[in-house]
Symmetry: C2
Subunit: 348 residues, 2 copies
């Protein structure tokens, strides 16, 4: 079908960064403003105008809200811009396209703005066309998207799990954690999770604890893992990581994709137990799922049958409407969400 | 040649642990005492009586001098015993053997006591017969032994170096560090070392600094590595590791075989910059060369030609006589040695 270019515009509500954030972000650090969007993209531009359906709330966004550090090119490149919409991963539908691989009506997921409409320039490393629509589209922000790829790569590739090993997952009910827990059970591991409430620890783990109720995290871990931890899937950092290091077994593996507990601190929590890395010959590997996009197709082949057959479940926490996006995003840093937090901007 | 069992004894001077050590070890924590050794081993015992020639002084010994922690089976198994000789790696000559693979006159290296004679029960994973004697026998405590295997495995296998990458080596003139520096130059890396004196930084590095003269370790590293560090070969831990984390490049690798700066502290130095492991997707791998003994033969094939042709040099700091063993070992923790510290107990 040929693209038909109709010159018309629409209101485009956007979530704007008011000022750089230091410490815990507040809802007032963001505001909603109405812009106008041209509903056509320039011919020959490789651009696609998309209508955003679901936006993913990711802890990582906090690192982009702070004042960029001029000495760090990465920080400069990634920081959000004051007065502009923030961005992240989302599910969207093509409204108008001058890109040869996308046509009106195509569904995709990848980087978009926090707004009703975005103009994107998709590449194979930034956006993926959605071919399977028998599953909820929102799943492409979670169990079929980055968080699940994070769990998959981090657990299977980086942690090299073996049946019978012990696995600890922090942020156990979060977008990534709830999947690591299920993957670990599938391998035949003994899995313990920690979260910020009793409700959140009911995710099919062999054991769990509410870290807010523990005086001594190391003692809690020793209680759950009398023989120690083989694999730690690190989502929080700080004191929890320090306590885990005290309880790791020889040849333990730690996959670290995030340290949410540290993002809002002016001074990071200190670690005392790093010598354990030598004594116990531990491997600690930081990673980011976006660097494993070449595995995405193989990953989908693995996960889709499990999703369709209900063998893996996924809990979502869906905020309705872009106007509720700021509170949903900020809520992440207070542990308000149960399961994967996302925002439904529009239904298809 | 048949083993001839002659019933006779000899005086056996030994280096004895006086009491468990806390804080920095002192020479007075060790003392020399004369025991008597039977110069034959019991028939059918698989034992070998050896005369010790060279003893290796290793930072790791400090971890065995402390009071063992009853909650740690490893600590209980490894701790030295009060009133008994300490032990370590050494080069020795078989005096009498009831082991089928060893005969009188054979040279070997592996675990022995700090004493003139030891009775050992060699296994393929604890002792290696010495076949090449055209090189100094003392080299089997260093460039042909554990420190060199540590450098080889840690640098080539764990750090996966590529030509043009930047490499930082702490304890740059030590038993391990001086070899990592040379291996890195052979790969075509840019290599910087740190040590505790100007003299020690003259080991063929592209650049070097004396960490005792630097107010700000991170600033020193930034000066030497304006674009950051790809590979850190960790020998010291603590503040240096924290400063290195601040200066690592994306996808950096840290091989950690020791943290000598921490062994004598009652409370370890804290780390502030561990979040970098996630942000920069860094891999930190603790390891011990003894777990790579299956590589020893391949390693010898690699290193021996370089040693014979003088393409790799190795600086040794040799204390003469068992009676000077305690001061040589303690000196390690004050950075007194230049190069590999060892003790010559006897010439062949």
């Amino acid at each position: 079908m040929a693209n038909i270019c109709i010159a018309t515009t629409a209101t485009n509500n956007q979530v704007i960064l008011r000022d750089y954030v230091s410490g815990f972000p507040k809802e007032s650090d963001l505001y909603i403003a109405a812009a106008t969007v041209d509903l056509r993209v320039p011919p020959g531009s490789m651009a696609v105008l998309v209508k955003n359906l679901y936006l993913s709330c990711d802890p990582h966004s906090r690192t982009r809200m702070g004042k960029p550090d001029p000495s760090s090119p990465t920080s400069m490149a990634h920081a959000f811009t004051i007065g502009k919409p923030i961005s992240g991963f989302g599910v969207a539908k093509a409204i108008h396209s001058c890109h040869p691989n996308y046509k009106t009506g195509d569904l995709l997921w990848g980087r978009v703005g926090w707004e009703e409409y975005s103009v994107i320039s998709p590449t194979p490393s930034s956006h993926f066309k959605i071919h399977h629509t028998d599953v909820p589209l929102s799943f492409y922000t979670g169990i079929l998207g980055i968080p699940s790829l994070t769990a998959y790569v981090g657990f299977y590739e980086i942690c090299s799990p073996k049946k019978g090993e012990t696995v600890f997952v922090s942020a156990a009910s979060g977008a990534v954690g709830q999947l690591v827990g299920q993957f670990a059970k599938m391998v035949g591991c003994y899995v313990v999770g920690s979260a910020s409430s009793k409700e959140k620890t009911k995710f099919g783990y062999d054991d769990a604890f509410n870290y807010k109720e523990e005086q001594d995290l190391s003692a809690a871990l020793k209680r759950c893992f009398p023989k120690g931890i083989d694999i730690y899937f690190e989502n929080v950092g700080g004191k929890m990581l320090d306590a885990v290091l005290q309880n790791m077994r020889t040849h333990g593996r730690i996959a670290a994709c995030g340290m949410i507990s540290q993002y809002n601190l002016k001074e990071p929590e200190v670690l005392h137990n790093t010598a354990t890395i030598v004594h116990k010959r531990i491997r600690v590997q930081g990673f980011a799922a976006v660097e494993f996009f070449d595995r995405y197709s193989k990953f989908l082949d693995f996960i889709l049958p499990h999703v369709r057959e209900g063998k893996i479940t996924y809990v979502e926490d869906i905020a309705q409407g872009l106007e509720n996006g700021p509170s949903a995003l900020i809520g992440l840093f207070h542990g308000k969400n149960v399961g994967k937090q996302l925002v439904e901007v529009a239904r298809e």
